[in-house]
């Protein structure tokens, strides 16, 4: 018996050996530099663990009853805020997304709209909320403006990508009938992006509700304010109840919106 043993080996992920080793070295140096430059106070963490235990146990049992009025009011406020903000945000993002589609808009409008989208996307909702609360005073109105503006970045970006992917011949057919620009958009473009439009609106509704829970922390109204007040009063049982309510509502919204999206498809 004299045969050469053949062993199969899986191909490496990156073919170039130099690149592979280089990448590994790069990652190691990055991790080392992170480790060296971040101060982690182990003493504080050791002290924090028993404190954290007390803190976490203070959440149990969740107390829905004592502050039930505030919790309910907060949830409803969040819901109103979410609905209004989603509708307003979508209404503003329709022209922006038309402007940000390469195949529809002239160059100048295209860059302007892209700029609006990038600006709206780069600031987290919480940062925007801080400024709008300062400008417009505490309450759900500032939260609503924040959510509508951050809807633009998300919605217009994804919708404009869909508009860029439309079937050109359909749009051209409408144009050849001598339609005006608005007729062309309404009959040639709109029907093609409608399924995506509905899907995105439902998805954004879901996101806006979740975000409304945080912008309340900086004064934007809604369930976040209830949560923040509960923390400030050291009523952790109530805070736990609020968190559980948020989780369950998000679960319900998620299931219904995924179900609706399947129905529409």
């Amino acid at each position: 018996m004299n045969y050469k043993k053949v062993i199969w080996k899986r191909k490496p992920l990156i073919k170039n050996r130099l690149l592979r080793i280089g990448l590994i070295l790069l990652i190691i140096t990055y991790l080392l530099s992170v480790f060296l430059t971040t101060e982690i106070d182990w003493q504080r963490i050791l002290e924090g663990i028993p404190r954290g235990k007390i803190f976490i146990f203070a959440f149990f049992p969740p107390d829905f009853i004592t502050r039930s009025n505030e919790i309910l009011a907060g949830i409803f406020e969040s819901l109103w805020m979410t609905i209004v903000a989603t509708i307003v945000g979508i209404l503003i993002s329709i022209p922006v997304s038309l402007g940000a589609a390469k195949n529809i808009a002239p160059k100048f409008v295209y860059f302007l709209s892209r700029g609006v989208i990038t600006l709206s996307r780069s600031f987290q909702e919480v940062i925007l909320a801080i400024f709008f609360v300062k400008l417009m005073g505490f309450g759900p109105f500032a939260g609503m403006v924040t959510l509508s503006l951050s809807t633009i970045g998300f919605f217009a970006k994804l919708l404009s990508e869909d508009i860029e992917d439309i079937n050109k011949s359909q749009a051209e057919a409408i144009k050849s009938t001598g339609s005006s620009w608005f007729q062309w958009v309404n009959y040639g473009v709109q029907p093609q992006v409608m399924p995506r439009f509905i899907g995105l609106s439902l998805y954004r509704l879901d996101i806006n509700f979740r975000e409304s829970a945080v912008i309340g922390i900086v004064g934007g109204g809604g369930i976040g304010s209830t949560l923040n007040t509960a923390f400030d009063r050291y009523e952790f049982e109530t805070a736990a109840a609020v968190l559980i309510v948020i989780i369950s509502i998000v679960m319900i919204v998620e299931y219904t919106s995924s179900h609706l999206r399947k129905l529409i498809k």
Binding site: R44, F76, R121, G137, I246
Partner: protein, 271 residues
């Protein structure tokens, strides 16, 4: 799509009468809900402040310009911290998301009745609590600083990555697994040679996408004390040093555009 006959000519309309009425009813109900909700919000708003907000905005802009450019050099460390929070947080999040995704995917879960709902619950609860709220909780436990931010971002990423990853696992091609099985492979070998290569592209694109989101999220966890550029932002807003705040905002825009550029590059290199 009906053609309607008038007295002496025909016109085309997009919808027939019934569909028109339905559409009209939907619009009517939508407007009704919208105005009802808006009414509730406006009853809680002090309109004087809202109508005065443009003056306030002009005043604020006046204070923000010109930005204090020298201040940028003290920002380098917080920006570095922010990038680290996002990167290490994403790594931790994806590492924990992988086993969770396998436990919650319909075709790989060990028990559909018991473990799958539990894993799904972990994913959903991580998704529904915003990273700022996670940070708020963690600052109390591990103390203010970068570590709390990293854990908060990590915990938040688990749900996102876990959800997208388990959907990817559920969509894999079963034939390939059967082929590996036919060679007499055991469970672990099926996993490494049958499933992992199929979900690897999805996994990389998910983690890059999440990293991009996390850069944004990492800018705000500092507002509750969890490290990064948010701490500076909070401090400067507290000091009403608006000329410094504008520098911070510029830095955030630059960081976000930079991360978007990098993700686009990596995505192009991989695909």
């Amino acid at each position: 799509m009906p053609i309607i006959k008038q007295k002496d000519y025909k016109t085309w309309k997009k919808f027939d009468r019934k569909r028109d009425l339905q559409n009209w009813l939907c619009w009517f109900l939508g407007t009704l809900i919208f105005s009802f909700c808006f009414g509730l919000i406006s009853s809680k708003t002090i309109w004087f402040y809202v109508f005065d907000s443009h003056n306030e905005a002009l005043d604020l802009l006046g204070r923000m310009f010109p930005p204090e450019t020298n201040y940028f050099f003290t920002l380098i460390k917080p920006i570095w911290d922010t990038l680290n929070i996002a990167t290490i947080g994403t790594t931790i999040g994806t590492l924990i998301a992988i086993p969770l995704a396998f436990l919650s995917a319909n075709n790989t879960t060990p028990s559909k009745k018991f473990i799958r709902p539990l894993a799904l619950f972990c994913i959903v609860s991580s998704r529904s609590i915003n990273s700022v709220i996670w940070a708020l909780l963690l600052v109390a436990v591990v103390g203010p600083g970068v570590l709390a931010g990293i854990i908060a971002i990590g915990l938040r990423s688990i749900g996102f990555c876990g959800k997208l990853l388990y959907e990817a696992i559920e969509e894999i091609d079963e034939n390939q697994i059967e082929a590996i099985e036919a060679t007499g492979a055991n469970k672990a070998q099926i996993m490494t040679f049958g499933i992992v290569p199929q979900i690897l592209p999805a996994f990389t694109s998910i983690s890059i996408y999440r990293w991009d989101i996390n850069i944004r999220e990492a800018t705000v966890v500092g507002l509750v004390g969890a490290g990064g550029i948010g701490i500076e932002l909070d401090a400067q807003i507290g000091d009403l040093a608006w000329a410094k705040v504008s520098v911070i905002l510029l830095a955030i825009v630059v960081a976000v555009v930079f991360s978007e550029w990098i993700t686009a590059k990596i995505r192009k290199a991989i695909i």
